[in-house]
């Protein structure tokens, strides 16, 4: 499949990239990993006139803790996330997530930021970042602004990024002690989008009472879904089998799946319930209860 013709632009700095974005604002797309964009161009679902390749911009690929946040650079690849000792030891929910995204070749190119900026509710990091209460840094001609993740996903393939902005960093608040998280996904085969998936992150006190909780749902609505009712139920409550069961039911109620080749809507709601149970139980285990 041959994509439509486009002009290829390769800036070396972020300001250069933003200038190019402004020049071609109606008709440009940022090319980072390209693992969603290029297939969409081949299918001619996306037809940008200009591709602005940011892969040669230096200093955008990093994973570090700084100022109370885990910071992931705009060009950090999924494979780098998987290989990072920091992520492996402290953020197993991100390992769970990266492991089930596409396949090794795709993860060598695909970026974490692109997984969010694409605005696809079937992508995996959105639910995880919702559970983690992340923020994204958008850099545009007016400088940087920080967007809370719960305000980022507007509708299918549409995010809070302005046409002249680039997602340059993801910030995850460093979890307090006794925190844990997990991501559970059901896929038909390696590389497939989720039939449904659930991300859960909890912080507990010494008596297993929930201090903080985040629950995100993948591919069961027009946007990634934050299961707020389930979160509200758990906050201040002891995390045990009964409360997990109740929260999982609420998460299933909050899902808005549609029936498709991956299964009927009712089945997907059932899946959310089961996956939420498992994700919360694993999160509790990892929090050290």
């Amino acid at each position: 499949m041959i994509p439509p013709a486009f002009e290829y632009l390769r800036p070396n700095t972020i300001p250069e990239a933003i200038t190019l974005l402004r020049q071609h604002v109606e008709d440009a797309k940022i090319l980072s990993g390209g693992q969603s964009l290029i297939p969409m161009m081949k299918l001619r679902i996306a037809r940008p006139g200009y591709l602005i390749d940011i892969n040669r911009i230096s200093g955008l690929s990093y994973i570090k803790e700084e100022g109370g946040f885990l910071k992931i650079g705009g060009l950090t690849r999924e494979a780098e996330l998987e290989a990072s000792p920091l992520i492996r030891s402290k953020y197993p929910i991100l390992i769970d997530t990266a492991h089930v995204i596409a396949d090794p070749q795709v993860r060598n190119l695909a970026t974490v930021a692109g997984n969010l900026a694409h605005g696809d509710p079937a992508n995996d990091h959105p639910a995880t970042m919702l559970a983690l209460g992340a923020q994204v840094v958008a850099t545009g001609s007016g400088g940087e602004r920080v967007i809370p993740i719960e305000e980022f996903f507007l509708s299918l393939f549409s995010t809070a990024l302005q046409p002249d902005e680039i997602l340059t960093e993801i910030r995850v608040p460093v979890p307090p002690p006794r925190s844990g998280g997990a991501y559970f996904k059901l896929e038909r085969k390696v590389g497939d989008f989720a039939t449904a998936a659930v991300a859960a992150q909890v912080t507990l006190d010494a008596n297993s009472v929930v201090q903080k909780v985040g629950i995100g749902l993948t591919n069961v609505g027009p946007t990634p879904i934050q299961a707020k009712k389930a979160e509200d139920l758990l906050r201040g409550k002891k995390l045990d089998e009964a409360s997990i069961r109740q929260a999982a039911q609420l998460a299933a109620d909050e899902a808005q799946p549609s029936s498709d080749l991956r299964g009927p809507a009712e089945y997907k709601k059932g899946l959310i319930k089961e996956l939420a149970k498992r994700a919360l139980a694993r999160a509790a285990e990892r929090a050290g209860t």
Partner: protein
């Protein structure tokens, strides 16, 4: 039509260049501009991995990358695995000895994924091998013999005096 751009790459140790349209996919560049047809086009939708090549040490699906993005890169394709004298790479020998292929269509991609796997992890477990080739589909073998082929190569390369064999491909 967009203006053609010059793309220079080092493929299997040789400097090559061609002027191409930006929309030319890397796999077409490799097969048509460079006439290296060992890299296959399978699904063309980023699923099957038949087009896998090693780019700057990492496997990529060359159907899901533009040739212009690879400008300046070092690429290893299946043609670069055997030695200049024609001696098969341990992996190629493994696929032959262990019947790791039937129709052979997926084999170039399987070889490149296995090659990258063994470079990072010379002694992978069966699970690690299966994970390493999880981006490559085979519709003939049921994967069992492919796993066996990779194990064969890992064992052969672990023998003293054979360490060089896996690096040979990029070196030449």
């Amino acid at each position: 039509m967009a203006k053609k751009q010059l793309v220079s790459v080092k493929v299997n140790g040789r400097e090559r260049e061609a002027a191409v349209e930006p929309r030319l996919l890397l796999v077409h560049f490799i097969r048509e501009s460079l006439q290296l047809t060992g890299t296959h086009i399978g699904c063309d939708t980023s699923h099957c991995g038949a087009c896998t090549v090693v780019l700057n040490g990492k496997t990529v699906k060359s159907c899901t990358m533009f040739a212009v993005q690879a400008d300046g890169a070092e690429i290893l394709t299946v043609e670069g695995l055997a030695s200049a004298s024609g001696q098969l790479h341990a992996l190629q020998e493994g696929f032959k000895q262990e019947h790791g292929l039937q129709c052979g269509f997926c084999t170039p991609g399987m070889l490149m994924s296995s090659y990258a796997l063994l470079r990072n992890n010379p002694n992978p477990s069966e699970e690690e091998i299966r994970r390493g080739i999880s981006g490559n589909l085979c519709r003939c073998t049921g994967y069992q013999n492919i796993v066996g082929a990779v194990q064969y190569a890992a064992a052969k390369m672990a023998k003293p005096g054979n360490e060089a064999s896996v690096a040979e491909g990029v070196a030449k």
